[in-house]
């Protein structure tokens, strides 16, 4: 049955809902707004010939150029963090102005060398947004190595991923690696193995200096310190957390550490 005939036979609310979806349009000015942010991230040659960038755009280009492919990891990482901060403008907007590059990495410094290698390998995996068919990969669009393995319902087993590899040799599925390790931290917390919690978090900071789950790790650190009895360190960690992630959904839980 063709679309018109089928839609005519729908119950009223379903038909109205479908019609609303067909009529859906971006708000006035949204195209321009997205374009302004996009031009900050385009390669220098393209950006120079497109519309003028917003203030700070040149700074962003200077900061992002040396990282090269790591750009994709940077703003996708920031984009992922934004999933947990629904009320905050997404970090890639600030990334375009260069500031988020510092906020995502260790504070006060440029992206560490290990991050560049991590970013390059992870960016190949994150390039899974490249065109490929839903049912099968497009053979000519990208090499197979750039396709990240899908998550299985129960999650990949820890044995499937090397968990102690230095950052420069991390496979493209760094997000899965990090998530496995964070899951282990939660399990250790539940078992009250607090010394191991803090050691594991320190190791994760080394392996994933700019990780998708950095915020979660920092929140777990506050909890781990609190439960281990080190209230002073927990207090300091909580203050740093709240300053770094002012709109975090973990904020309420972290604030309890300050009381």
């Amino acid at each position: 049955m063709d679309t018109k005939s089928w839609a005519k036979g729908l119950p009223p609310r379903a038909r109205q809902a479908l019609e609303a979806a067909r009529q859906m349009r971006p708000a006035a000015g949204e195209s321009e707004s997205v374009w302004a942010g996009l031009t900050d991230k385009l390669p220098v040659a393209s950006a120079a010939t497109t519309t003028s960038t917003a203030s700070g755009g040149i700074t962003a280009l200077l900061l992002l150029k040396p990282v090269g492919a790591g750009v994709l990891l940077g703003f996708i990482t920031a984009g992922s963090v934004s999933l947990l901060q629904p009320s905050v403008p997404s970090p890639p907007e600030t990334l375009a102005r260069g500031r988020a590059v510092h906020s995502v990495a260790e504070p006060g410094g440029p992206l560490p060398g290990s991050l560049v290698a991590t970013a390059r390998s992870a960016s190949l995996a994150r390039d899974s947004s490249s065109p490929r068919r839903l049912a099968q990969p497009v053979p000519s669009a990208e090499p197979a190595a750039t396709v990240a393995p899908p998550l299985s319902p129960s999650g990949p087993s820890a044995a499937a991923f090397p968990t102690d590899a230095p950052p420069s040799t991390l496979p493209p599925n760094a997000v899965l690696l990090e998530s496995n390790r964070v899951a282990r931290v939660r399990a250790l917390l539940q078992q009250d193995r607090l010394g191991e919690v803090l050691n594991e978090l320190a190791e994760l900071d080394r392996l994933f200096a700019v990780g998708v789950l950095r915020q979660e790790r920092d929140a777990l650190r506050v909890e781990g310190l609190l439960r281990s009895g080190d209230r002073a360190a927990a207090h300091d960690a909580a203050l740093r957390f709240l300053a770094r992630y002012p709109h975090s959904p973990h904020g309420a839980a972290v604030e309890r550490a300050l009381r």
């Binding site: 089928w6 067909r22 997205v34 999933l83 947004s129 000519s140």
Partner: protein, 190 residues
């Protein structure tokens, strides 16, 4: 060493962007990207487009290629969101995932669009994509099948399942809305 293709010329890329921004924006929203994330998602998609455009073989429509990029991007966002919710086991993340929390609240489906997205969010992702292509974007069977990477018959079969799912889910949501309204009616009557 193989040289990577030169990036798309600026003027033509801008023209492509203007011509297809609404389609990309709408596709991403219907595929579940939240309103709060849509600007970033659009930028991500067009960055890929910019990088890959020289490789695009213009045998089919550009929109089918763009939709594939949107699907992959939306799927990646969902996977990352699911990874977070599995790790943290926090109800906030279970609900947030890639959708606005409001979509899961049965008491606020007054708005037709939110009803539509709530229904799609409960649909199998692959069926959702087929439904969007056929019923929202009005693609022909061959165009949609190409975008989905499926044989034509399979694409139609998936559409049939998607249509059945859409009707059933909207009905379920409406029934849930009616049930949730009853306590409100009782309180109002006191």
């Amino acid at each position: 060493m193989v040289k990577s293709p030169a990036p798309a010329p600026a003027a033509s890329f801008r023209a492509l962007y203007e011509a297809h921004f609404a389609f990309v924006w709408r596709s991403l929203r219907h595929l579940g990207v939240r309103a709060a994330d849509i600007s970033d998602a659009c930028q991500d998609v067009f960055l890929v487009v910019h990088r890959r455009l020289p490789e695009f073989e213009a045998r089919g429509k550009l929109t089918t290629w763009l939709f594939q990029i949107c699907v992959n991007h939306a799927r990646d966002r969902r996977r990352r969101a699911h990874a977070r919710s599995e790790i943290l086991g926090d109800a906030v993340f279970e609900h947030a995932l890639t959708t606005d929390v409001a979509l899961l609240d049965p008491t606020i489906h007054q708005d037709q669009l939110s009803l539509f997205h709530a229904a799609l969010e409960r649909m199998d992702f692959e069926q959702r994509a087929a439904f969007i292509l056929f019923e929202v974007e009005g693609m022909t069977g061959p165009e949609a099948a190409r975008a989905l990477g499926l044989p034509l018959a399979t694409a139609y079969s998936r559409l049939r399942l998607a249509r059945e799912a859409f009707v059933a889910i909207v009905e379920r949501i409406q029934r849930a809305d009616q049930v949730s309204e009853r306590p409100h009616a009782r309180r109002a009557a006191r």
